[in-house]
Structure formats: C-alpha cells, structure tokens
C-alpha cells in the first residue's frame, strides 16, 4: 500500500465531512472563475474595441473613466494632420437604454471608421447607412435582444431611431452595442463637438515616442498611450481587476477556513489512530504530511468541482439575454493556474494548524483509555 492510498482512505472514510470541506474550496474556485471571467471578459472586449486597427489611444488626461473623457473636434483634426499619423478615428462612448434593456453601450463613429469597414454586414450596407438620415446600426446580438431588423424603428432613450443595418464584429462587446454616427451621438448625448477617445494608427511604429511627446507637449489636457500601456494604467480596469481578485480571495478565505475546520475535526476524531500510526513508526513529520496531503486532496477535488460549477455558471450567464456580449469565459491558462494555485495554497495553510495538532499527539496519553 502506498502513502497516497492512506491519504485517500482517510478522506473516504468520512466522505460527507470531506465533501463539505471540498465544497468550500469549490465555491471559492467557482466564484473566482465566474467573477474573473465576467470582469476580464468585459475588459478584454473593451480593449479590443479600443485597439481595433490602432496602436495608440488619445484621451483626456487624468480622467477616471473613458466615458468622461472629451477630445475636442479641432484637436482631432490637428492630430489627424500630424505627419506621423496614418489614421485617427474618434469614438464617442455612451450608455443608452431601451425598454427592458437598461444598459446598452453606444458608439458614436465616423463613417470612415475601420470598425465598420471590417465588420460583417448582416443587413444593410455601409453605403446605405452613410446615406441614411440619423439611422443607427445594431450589433448582431443587440438586434437579437431588441428584436429589430433593418428598417424597424427602435425606441432608445426618449427618441426613436430607424435601423439602417445590422453588423457582426469579431468582438462580442460591440455586437451587444448600438452604433450612431458621431454627429448624431454628440447630439444625443448632448456633447457637441467632442469624442471620448481617438484611436490612432501610425505610419511607422518607430514614431511612437515622438508621437506621444508631441501630443503631451501640444495639448495640455490630452495624453497618448500605447494600447498595452493603456490597459495597464487605465484605472477602471485596475479597480475592476482588483475587485474581482478581492472577491475571489475572500471566497477562498472562507474555503480555507472550511478546510481548517474539516481537517481539525478529522484530527480530533482520529487521535487514537494517529497515536497508533506513531507507535507503528510514523515520525511526526510523516503524521503532519499525512494531514496536509489530505487537505491537498480535498482542495484538488474542490478545485475540479469548482471549475465545472464555475463553467456552468458562466454558461448560464452567457445565455441570459440581458448580459449578452458582456461575458467571455476566461481562457488564459495563467488565470486558471492562479486559481488552482490559490486553492491549493489556501487549503495547505488551512491544514497547518490541524497538522501541527496531530504532530503534537502523545501516543501514551491517547492510548491510555482502552
């Protein structure tokens, strides 16, 4: 018989108790997986929107949220005229609501925006939209949940818009959104002459630093960041990420306490048995290892269950029309690994006291009461 079998049998003998301990870890894993998936998924999509066909983003300095950023029209025009710049596409973000759908992201775009050019036109065409008078485009998912097709009138906010086309992009977030012409969006959101950001494509990648410096020296209120830097420094993303990790870690703390409790109970009920294996030659470190390995096994089972449950929750969330496009399952192996490691570490930490307690058991005392 191998040591690992003893570990397994020790848990198996008290399966209900072990299951409860495992469940704590499973909930932690499931919580962390779903929260991270939602948050990182949303961030990821947002990032993609921002980075489509661009390398730099220009936005208002020190703004806490891109929805509050303003870049004036005349500055957009000047930036577009810079030598290094190949393309400058202003985007105005806003939140609109429709009956039953309180939060729909709205994008105000110029006709020439590459996002539209590269999109899959399911209904209508870029040409038709350009010619339409204040027509809107719906992302494919938005069309689904608003149950609208080309030519329909859709109530948005206090107005009503005619649908000029339906597009699908590679990006789920955009597909859940509504697209207005930049000028219509400025009017609708009452932000005349501004955009939230300008997505910049440079003629030559090597001009990056020069471009960035030019923007900050010419415009007091603006800054330019490379996409990657932006993702790391944008405070909303940071807050979201930190919050989701914090929620996950709290869930894990509870899970770890569950393991501590389960293992302590297990040790208490096995004092005599632990004394016996000591008498049979188990050293104190071996006894401690046994207890810790039991906790590790609990965590392994919990993690496996947690991943399955977490994926189930995500599947469920994804099927809710209200959340369409806002959720994307985390696929990064690093996040999975981080969750896995967190689960194991929490479990091991939770088993330290029980293991120490088990190592302290005095066989003579424990065996005295026959």
């Amino acid at each position: 018989m191998h040591f690992s079998k003893l570990v397994f049998l020790s848990l198996w003998r008290h399966r209900i108790r072990a299951a409860i301990g495992s469940a704590g870890i499973a909930f932690g894993v499931a919580a962390m997986l779903s929260v991270l998936s939602v948050v990182l998924g949303a961030i990821g999509m947002f990032e993609k929107i921002l980075s489509t066909d661009s390398q730099y983003l220009v936005f208002e300095k020190n703004v806490s949220d891109l929805f509050f950023s303003s870049v004036p029209e005349d500055q957009v025009a000047e930036i577009r005229d810079m030598d290094a710049v190949a393309q400058a596409n202003p985007i105005l973000f806003g939140i609109v609501s429709a009956p039953d759908h309180p939060v729909i992201t709205c994008f105000g775009l110029e006709d020439a925006d590459p996002r539209l050019r590269d999109a899959d036109w399911l209904e209508g065409s870029l040409q038709e939209w350009r010619q339409s008078e204040g027509g809107i485009l719906l992302g494919s998912r938005a069309a689904e949940f608003l149950k609208a097709g080309s030519g329909d009138e859709v109530p948005i906010g206090r107005q009503s818009f005619k649908v000029a086309g339906i597009i699908a992009t590679a990006n789920g977030f955009e597909d859940g959104g509504v697209f207005l012409k930049l000028s219509s969006a400025q009017e609708f959101f009452n932000r005349p002459g501004v955009s939230s950001i300008v997505a910049i494509k440079l003629k030559d990648d090597a001009d990056g630093d020069a471009f960035r410096n030019a923007v900050s020296s010419r415009y007091e209120g603006l800054m330019a960041l490379e996409n990657e830097e932006f993702q790391q420094s944008y405070s909303q993303f940071r807050i979201l990420k930190a919050t989701s990790w914090a929620v996950g870690v709290c869930a894990f703390l509870l899970g770890g306490m569950g393991v501590a409790n389960t293992m302590l109970l297990s040790v208490f009920s096995r004092i005599r048995e632990i004394a016996v294996i000591q008498v049979c030659g188990f050293s104190k470190p071996q006894v401690g290892t046994l207890i810790i390995l039991e906790a590790v096994l609990l965590a392994l089972i919990g993690t496996a269950v947690g991943f399955v449950v977490g994926l189930g929750i995500l599947e469920l969330l994804q099927s809710l029309p209200q959340l369409q496009g806002y959720i994307q399952t985390v696929t990064s192996p690093w996040v999975w690994l981080a969750i896995f490691v967190t689960a194991e570490v929490t479990s091991i930490v939770g088993s330290l006291y029980p293991a120490w307690y088990a190592m302290k058991i005095q066989p003579a005392e424990a065996l005295r009461y026959e």
Binding site: M1, F3, L9, R272, V279, C280, S283, Q362, P363, L367
Partner: protein, 239 residues
C-alpha cells in the same frame, strides 16, 4: 538519568550483555507530580528470545512499564535500555519503533475501515520497506496465524480473535527483535484468548523474538518462560 551507554558509537547490540534485550535499572515513575506513585525502584533484565509475562492486577503499572520500554513515556529516575538504546531519548524512539519494537494492545487498535493487508502495511509504510518483501512477509505471517482467507477483509468485518491476530501480524511485519504486548488477550473470550496466546508464544519461539506481555491472568503468566510480578510498584521476578 539517561543511559550513557546510548551515546556510544558502537553498534547498540554490542553494548548490552550479549543476549540482553532489555535492561531496566532502578526505575521510578509517578504521575500527577508524584501524587500517584506507580513504579518504585524497578529493575529487571530480559534476554534475547525470552517470552516474559508482566503480571499484575489492574492498575499495578503494567502499561506504564511497557510505555517506558517502548519510549511512549519517560521514567522519573533510573535507566531503561532497549536493544542498547535509551527509549527516553527522542531520536532513539523512531529508530526503536521502526527497527526493533512491535506493539500489540488490548484493543486491537487497527484502522477499522482498512483491510487486514492495509493495516499491516502501516509499519512498512512508515519505514519505507520494499514492496515485495512486505507482501511476502504478510503472506507468511497470515498463513501462520491462520487468517489467510481474511487478508483483504476490512477489520470491521473480522471477529475479535481475527482482529487480534491481525494486530500480531502488524506488530511482526518489520521483523522486530522485541514485541511489547499489553494484555493482548484482555478483550477476548477464554477460547480465543487461549488461541491468541498460543499463536503469539509459538510465533515468538519460531522467530526468536523477545516478548514482554502484560497480563493479569495467572493462566498465561505461568505459561510464559518467566514472569515478572508487579505489586505495589515493586517487581518480583520468578521463573
């Protein structure tokens, strides 16, 4: 007063008299800060291959004395030497339990949800013995103890006699020099007690194992090679 002998570099077996396995010298042991005096100036020797009864009524200190021999507790005064090692020294304990001593208790103290085979694997697991050797030893002992048909049964499915035979098997798995048995027949009926005693005695003789067996029953004490009578904390050695 720890035994100075145990600090030597010579092989421990060579330090005691040639055939001596246990030497207890002027041992005192009390509990509750001296309020319960259990052993008073106890001295005796046990030689290689002897089966000794530690005979005394309940509460006479038999278990306490076995615990001192097995390194489960330490004497207040006096010296104990088992296979040349002082069991009161922490680092000797593990060595004694893994190499020299096997324990049998009144209650079998087996893990009830494990099988007979798994229980007997525990000492081997602790000492990381080779698999093949352990399996072979297990087959041999269980055949000898006439429980070969129960090898893969869980302990909770076994009778009292079978459990106690499993305990004997576990104690002998690692080929100890010395077996400390604390009332091994104490929880059995007369017939089963008789059988277990006989098996233990014969096995000890066959394998040249030294046995110290605590018992309160005259019928077993008198059939051992020698008995040590424990009374009022003192010993009285008889043949």
């Amino acid at each position: 007063m720890s035994n100075v002998l145990s600090f030597g570099t010579a092989a421990p077996e060579q330090i005691l008299g040639e055939k001596e396995v246990i030497r207890v010298d002027g041992v005192w042991k009390s509990f509750d800060e001296g309020r319960i005096q259990v052993l008073s100036d106890v001295s005796f020797n046990v030689n290689q291959g002897e089966v000794i009864a530690l005979w005394g009524s309940s509460g006479s200190g038999k278990s306490t004395l076995l615990h001192l021999l097995g390194g489960l507790d330490a004497a207040d005064e006096g010296s104990v030497s088992v296979c040349g090692l002082d069991p009161a020294v922490e680092k000797n304990r593990l060595r004694l339990r893994r190499e020299y001593i096997g324990f049998i208790f009144q209650l079998h103290n087996l893990l009830p949800d494990l099988t007979m085979r798994e229980n007997c694997w525990i000492p081997a697991m602790a000492s990381r013995l080779a698999r093949q050797e352990v399996d072979q030893r297990f087959e041999e002992l269980t055949s000898w103890l006439k429980v070969e048909h129960r090898r893969d049964r869980r302990i909770r499915e076994l009778s009292g006699g079978e459990r106690q035979r499993t305990a004997i098997c576990r104690a002998l798995m690692h080929r100890p020099k010395l077996v400390l048995a604390d009332e091994p027949t104490g929880s059995l009926d007369e017939q089963n007690g008789e059988q277990v005693f006989k098996l233990l005695y014969e096995l000890a003789k066959r394998e040249q194992v030294t046995v110290v067996m605590a018992t309160h029953e005259r019928r077993f004490a008198e059939r051992c090679d020698r008995h040590i009578l424990l009374r009022d904390g003192h010993v009285d050695c008889r043949d």
